[in-house]
Symmetry: C2
DNA sequence: TTGTAGGCGTTATCAC
DNA sequence: GTGATAACGCCTACAA
């Protein structure tokens, strides 16, 4: 038999309303009654029924804001698809999503967009820039009672309820591990990173280096260049790097610009002698995997990241459930030509 | 504004009961009224509210049977964990799970266990033996109105509503692809399969061969032995195989017995010259990955398989939703030491 | 501080 | 054939 508020009320000889007040900390209950209700609820193992809650929640008007740095970054296409599918699933609960997208790492701009959204918003899914001002902005929202979830990039010391994304350090470790297996532990590595400033990119490189130290003494990093996640820039600096270091046998592409790097390799005709590892599986990367320019790419469940972030918000807003993990870390998977689709 | 049964009833000038009868094909409605209701529901885009349904479903007593060939197969430990977690999540909807486990491929025994369960069961999650008699049994259950889902092994021509599991053929392809990358496309391969009779094992080998033909002319299969998913047998036949074919440079472990194979390799001291690819990541396999005996193993989301199968059943029983895919195929992921946990 | 009652959307059971 | 009504469990406004 399931334990309901009604049943607890009967047992305690009081009304449903009072039990509700106790169980949801709404105050205005005599200490004595409160204690009794809590004891009974505990002993009987009361579990609120999400369906009941969901039904009652319909009377609220729930709006979830989403702000992503997605423009010009095809990785987010799948994230957004996950968000949209979840939106549809939950639309019957009367929950709406307002999605905004921005380009580049302008902190003030991100703050301004957040401000413009905060009026009618019950929760925010944010892909934040790593900056103190954004941290402050998150804390301000939480203070206002808005539920905040960080997506794809965490700000650990902020008051966000939860982070959904990948483990960048382990992503770098995984990249190094697979590169080690493919090169028999010997390689002269050129690293092409997105931005020295981006936290995740830095962490990937650190993870990569960590495995070199631990396992691959014959790996040498011969150069380390930055492409700003831009394909044209990637094309140019990769060409330059390869000409400067003809001894390079492997390239670790840390973030965006994968297509530009590959085109540079192709234009120099050196694809045969290179092992290339990248991240994500956007269409151009898949294309290069098929051409066997890239040997392996590391996949971080973008669709799931999007869907999961909405799940977490939904469970909080509709069911009052706090996320069961502060960090929802998705696995780094290795994709090769055969298991890419 | 959301469209509810009540609203449709008002618009049509009839009662909620009648609308319900039409929308759920319960019969006993005048053709004319039926048509009207359907038209209005369609035009307004009526979407049943799952919360309402869930609440109403509590009055039913839902029992889900699960029958797995799990004994002695640690792969299923994670599958079962997924099932148990889902059970807990859905327990508030008054859905119970009765899980039975069996050992080995005795068709009659599986039929008998199914029969013993079918009394009070609304749905069955079945890990079926590939056999005509099991197909017939599934069809019999469906005839009785029981919702059947196959797990981890499909019987395609049966009347099961849905299959949840992996793509075995692509698993074999992926194994070959990663082996090709690790060996530079040159290998003398020994294959250790679970059972020649198991459909999935056969399909993996076919997938493996398919990529050899397509991509790796310098791969040669020098031997092909069967271990019945038993570690002791695996140990012995692998030893035998390696002694008989000292030219072997790679081993493809198609199914169980991974630990036995690795112990054989270790006992002969030939681990340095071998590339070994396996499936799943049970504890002993992870151990061998850590010892660098196995270079890569292919992972098939066992936890998700278990959880998903319960999801599908729940959505049908409580929300009346047919699964949106007949086959729910999980991806083959490549795990190496760095991304195993 | 507590109780009452109605509504969220769906379904089952009666009565007509 | 159809309609009315009472659940399912929770929440909230209002009355006491």
């Amino acid at each position: 038999m399931t334990i309901t508020i009604k049943k607890i009320a009967e047992i305690c000889g009081i009304s449903r309303g009072t039990v509700d007040r106790v169980l949801n900390d709404r105050g205005k209950v005599k200490a004595q009654t409160e204690e009794l209700v809590k004891k009974v609820a505990n002993e009987l193992g009361y579990k609120p029924n999400p369906a009941g809650r969901a039904l009652a929640a319909k009377r609220k008007n729930l709006v979830v804001g989403v702000l992503l740095i997605a423009e010009g970054n095809p990785f987010f296409d799948e994230v957004i698809r996950g968000i949209r599918v979840a939106e549809k699933e939950y639309s019957v609960y009367g929950m709406r999503i307002v999605l905004k997208s921005m380009k580049g790492y302008d902190v003030e701009k991100q703050c301004r967009i957040i401000d413009s959204m905060k009026g009618e918003m019950n929760a925010l899914i944010l892909n934040p820039i790593s900056d103190e001002r954004i941290k402050a902005k998150i804390d301000e929202l939480v203070e206002l009672g808005i539920f905040v979830v960080t997506l794809n990039n965490d700000i650990e010391n902020s008051r966000r309820a939860c982070y959904i994304g990948s483990n960048y350090f382990n992503g770098g470790e995984t990249a190094c591990g697979i590169m080690g297996l493919l090169t028999n532990g010997k390689a002269e590595v050129g690293i092409v990173t997105g931005s020295f400033k981006a936290l995740g990119h830095k962490q990937r490189v650190e993870g990569f280096k960590h495995i070199i130290e631990q396992k691959y003494p014959e790996f040498h990093i011969v150069d380390y260049v930055e492409n700003d996640d831009d394909d044209i820039l990637a094309f140019e600096i990769t060409k330059e790097m390869l000409l400067k270091h003809p001894d390079i046998t492997a390239i670790f592409i840390v973030a965006g610009g994968v297509y530009g790097v590959c085109r540079a390799v192709l234009s120099l005709g050196v694809q045969q002698k290179l092992t290339i590892i990248s991240f994500d599986s956007v269409p151009t990367t898949v294309e290069m995997l098929k051409k066997q320019i890239i040997q392996a790419t590391i996949y971080q469940h973008p669709y799931t990241q999007g869907h999961k972030s909405v799940d977490v918000v939904f469970n909080y807003l509709v069911h009052g459930l706090q996320p069961n993990k502060v960090q929802h870390i998705l696995k780094n998977e290795i994709k090769i030509l055969e298991n890419i689709n």
